[in-house]
């Protein structure tokens, strides 16, 4: 509002809406314009997305998006929602990146979504029928011209002997004599339109689905074309009865029906794959706790996960803090140079670091054994206990620079006069550190320690890259090794080979989320108490 206070007269002439708009913008014309353009962009994108969603008949997301748009516009055009104006962007990100992800994971954990159950029943039936088409062994290739008779398509075929026949889906193949021949191939039939490749491509779905029986007996098979220019004789090994909702194996006569397991199943329990995705209630959670492959190692792995996360935080914090105190001392020369050196491991991508360390720690050819231990064969990664030590050590190397940075910042923010006052009162350096610096430091650093704990609790990269969870005991029947933490165990249990059990993996993720959330909440409460002390 270019700093000119408007006179009462002009004010009177304004509509209330305009005044509100102007005040809300808090001033200048530019602010209001930018706001309108930005909101316009948001609205435009939102409306565009709504068009797309409407086209896909995705009404749930459509409704959510519409409500969100209305809410956003209300928040930014209303006068009464000052706090919300600041909170809204953050809330949106929270919803999209946290709440939605957790909600969706939760939803997946109640389904059997995964290998063999990754789509709808309709898709499963289509795929089953597609793969059931078997070319009759040693049957000949027919030269094909696709023709159109009114709205229907038909096959005009020439067999290798030169005999010409015509048929449609309803009328089995029949010999014809009045076809126009081009070379050895019949290319046209009177009264019917022959299709060229472009026409065929335009109608390809219908033409590929077209089955022309070669005789009145359906067991003789039918002609189909994969490319529009040649036809082959196929028999289907499965028959789908839409009314009874059953699949019948045409060779063995076995009837597979939908028994509620998300696949067509025979009476003996054998399932046809692919199946489809269905809700399975709490099955995944039950399996996560009772499955033999999981229950056995679960306790050991859980304890190690806590030990790993806790020790990782403590060791990195201790080393980082120690270095920060040392480098914070004014008497130290070349501090800037050392600081850069210390931060280097932090600049290294963690899984690259883990891979390099895996090489350095190799039993027979690693640098550590060859150069530092005089060619000893210490099984740093292939022994269950040493593997744990190695993981903690490498994580220390990867993690202390972060703690160093954090502690450095926190230390510098502690005013010197507090320290001086303590000195005047006769405290020795250790007392100053323990009684004054550390508590002050913890107030600002504690939340970071908690998040660091949560991060290490799920530090999949390091475990996977350094030891792969190993070493494994070959005499145990389970695919879990000595250094596996919960998240890497989940990965192994839910993703065996190329099998993907997303439902089970999601159930585990939710369980781990609950554990980490509880720990975080309790710890944050503690931190608050710390704050009040000061």
């Amino acid at each position: 509002m270019s700093s000119r206070t408007p006179s009462p007269q002009t004010r009177a002439r304004r509509s209330r809406g305009a005044a509100r708009l102007a005040e809300m913008a808090g001033g200048s014309l530019w602010a209001i314009l930018i706001k309108i353009v930005l909101l316009g962009l948001v609205d435009a994108l939102g409306i565009y997305a709504m068009f797309m969603l409407a086209a896909q008949h995705n009404w749930i997301v459509f409704a959510i998006l519409a409500a969100a748009l209305v809410a956003i516009n209300y928040v930014y055009f209303s006068k009464r929602t000052l706090a919300m104006k600041y909170l809204t962007p953050g809330l949106i990100f929270l919803l999209v990146f946290q709440v939605f992800v957790i909600g969706y994971t939760g939803y997946i954990s109640f389904t059997n979504y995964g290998s063999g159950h990754n789509s709808t029943k309709e898709d499963a039936i289509t795929a089953l029928m597609q793969s059931a088409q078997e070319r009759v062994p040693d049957s000949s290739t027919y030269a094909l011209t696709v023709v159109r008779d009114g709205g229907d398509f038909g096959f005009l075929v020439t067999d290798p002997k030169g005999e010409v026949s015509y048929g449609t889906a309803e009328h089995p193949l029949e010999r014809v004599t009045d076809a126009t021949m081009t070379g050895d191939k019949a290319t046209a039939l009177p009264g019917k339109e022959s299709l060229n490749f472009t026409d065929i491509v335009d109608n390809q779905k219908a033409i590929v689905d077209l089955q022309v029986p070669i005789s009145d007996d359906p067991n003789d098979g039918s002609l189909r074309t994969p490319d529009g220019s040649s036809a082959f004789l196929y028999l289907s090994s499965l028959h789908y009865d839409a009314r009874a909702d059953t699949m019948t194996d045409t060779k063995t006569g076995t009837v597979y029906s939908d028994t509620g397991v998300g696949a067509f199943a025979a009476p003996d329990g054998k399932q046809l794959k692919p199946g489809w995705s269905i809700g399975v209630g709490f099955d995944n959670y039950v399996k996560a706790i009772t499955d033999d492959g999981i229950r056995g190692p679960l306790i050991g792995v859980t304890i190690w996960t806590f030990v790993f996360a806790l020790l990782s935080v403590l060791t990195t914090f201790a080393l980082g803090l120690f270095l920060a105190i040392v480098f914070n001392d004014m008497r130290m020369r070349g501090r800037a140079f050392y600081r850069v050196l210390i931060i280097l491991p932090y600049a290294f991508p963690s899984f690259l670091g883990a891979l390099v360390w895996a090489g350095l720690l190799n039993r027979d050819f690693g640098f550590i054994n060859l150069e530092l231990f005089g060619g000893a064969h210490i099984p740093w990664l292939t022994d269950a206990f040493l593997g744990k030590v190695s993981i903690l050590f490498v994580n220390l190397w990867l993690g202390f620079p972060y703690m160093f940075l954090v502690c450095m910042g926190a230390l510098q923010s502690i005013p010197d006069d507090v320290q001086e006052a303590a000195k005047m009162d006769g405290a020795n350096p250790f007392q100053i550190f323990k009684k004054i610096k550390l508590p002050l430091l913890l107030v600002s650093v504690a939340p970071l320690l908690i998040s660091s704990f949560a991060f290490n609790f799920n530090n999949f990269n390091l475990v996977y890259m350094l030891t792969g969870g190993g070493p494994r005991d070959a005499s145990a029947s389970i695919n879990v090794g000595g250094t596996d933490i919960l998240i890497s165990m989940v990965y192994k249990v839910a993703f065996v080979g190329a099998d993907r059990d997303y439902g089970l993996a999601s159930a585990f993720s939710i369980l781990i989320f609950i554990v980490v959330a509880i720990i975080a909440i309790v710890s944050f409460r503690q931190t608050k108490a710390l704050e009040e002390l000061n």
């Binding site: 304004r14 050819f365 695919n479």
Partner: protein, 409 residues
């Protein structure tokens, strides 16, 4: 500033126009897209194959009028992404892939059979065998890949006549490792398989038509026990060492430390760059029977949900299964072509020919989904046996039981 009613109206109008304009123009630009999507083939392809396919696609586009859209993907991530995206309707019409994914693809219903018709005879038999699953062909193959014995001719002028001969030559060359094979903490069943197969110890039995029978687990047969004991013996003698990872094996061979390396064509360029004079030989048998490596075949698959089944099939069988394209793919990627005509042309390169000859005598990597349950126990057990942790026969028997239980679910 004067906020007049007019101005407010104006900005309001501008806002609405902007919103409508943005959504409108994007909507209108969407319409032709949706229309032409019917005649657009989307193909997932990895970086090495993309330039070759670009030419074939241009030719196909000219003669058929169907637009081919190539989407570049990281080969390793295609399997999971394809299975996840096809059901959503957002997947491609065609994807590149490896033949051992077929079992998984079929189990998830994301691919459909491809009719090679009379063209099938033009491919190497091992290639068509590999892409056949439950009696149906599921891919148009383009390359064959397998491991063989790489020999440093400066250290070993002639091909080893037997396994013992190889060890003797290696020791005579003064290496602590008579031959190199990549293992690691969980061993490497793929690289060890030629030796295993030389003990008549395949993973699965095979049906009359050559396909694998997942119900017939043969890994625990009598040959398996002999192989397990052989592994323990070789581990004790130091010929096999699980500390030798892929990097270490390659590094030692390229520095001329050991005359032999069991590996695939992917390590040839670096060895040549390191100045090693190379020859490629069959892997010598350790157990009496022929040493057959697993053969991997790469090919193109058609999505089960494609809206362009005909165009996709036409593009694959008549534009990619040609000698010109297969030869071009070979020249770019260095893997032996699957089409016999191109294979013969490529065989003028002695190294390609030697790898190809070994591959012809190999066996396709099993593509049955049950194979996925084998790896997790296989390597760990081999590693334990090589490191001398327990009785080899007992460990192998235990592994067989574990695999059988895992397959049964």
């Amino acid at each position: 500033m004067k906020v007049t009613k007019k101005r407010v109206l104006l900005t309001g109008a501008a806002l609405t126009a902007l919103a409508l304009g943005l959504s409108g123009c994007s909507a209108s630009s969407e319409t032709p897209d949706a229309g032409s999507a019917k005649n657009t083939l989307t193909v997932w392809v990895d970086a090495d194959r993309a330039p070759v396919l670009k030419e074939a696609a241009a030719e196909f586009e000219k003669s058929s009028g169907v637009h081919v859209k190539l989407v570049q993907k990281d080969f390793g991530s295609i399997l999971d992404q394809f299975i996840a995206q096809v059901p959503s309707g957002k997947g491609p019409d065609i994807t590149i892939g490896a033949h051992d994914w077929i079992g998984n693809f079929v189990q998830n219903g994301v691919i459909q059979p491809v009719e090679l018709g009379d063209k099938a005879a033009g491919f190497e038999k091992i290639a068509t065998d590999a892409v056949t699953y439950q009696g149906k062909t599921y891919a148009v193959p383009y390359s064959i890949e397998n491991i063989a014995l790489l020999r440093n001719t400066a250290l070993a002028p002639t091909a080893p006549t037997s396994y013992d001969d190889m060890i003797a030559t290696g020791k005579a060359a003064g290496s602590a490792n008579p031959f190199l094979i990549q293992l690691g903490p969980q061993a490497d069943p793929y690289h060890l398989y030629p030796f295993q197969s030389s003990f008549d110890n395949p993973v699965f039995g095979r049906n009359a038509d050559g396909s694998y029978n997942a119900d017939d687990l043969t890994i625990g047969n009598e040959g398996g026990t002999r192989f397990a004991n052989w592994l323990a013996q070789q581990g004790k003698e130091g010929n096999l060492n699980i500390s030798i990872t892929a990097d270490i094996a390659k590094e030692k061979f390229n520095s001329g430390e050991s005359p032999f390396l069991i590996t695939g064509p992917w390590n040839v360029p670096d060895a040549e760059k390191a100045g090693i004079k190379l020859a490629v030989d069959p892997i010598p048998s350790a157990g009496g029977a022929p040493a057959q490596p697993f053969v991997g075949v790469q090919g193109f698959f058609i999505s089960s949900k494609t809206a362009n089944p005909l165009a996709a099939n036409e593009f694959l069988t008549n534009y990619l299964a040609t000698e010109k394209v297969q030869t071009a793919l070979f020249e770019k990627g260095g893997r032996a072509p699957a089409l016999t005509a191109s294979f013969n042309a490529a065989a003028s390169n002695p190294i390609v020919k030697a790898f190809g000859d070994v591959g012809r005598n190999g066996v396709p990597m099993p593509s049955v989904p049950a194979m996925g349950k084998v790896w997790q126990f296989w390597g760990v057990t081999q590693a334990a046996i090589i490191s001398g942790e327990g009785d080899p026969t007992a460990l192998w028997t235990k592994m067989t039981a574990d695999i059988a239980a895992a397959i049964k679910g």
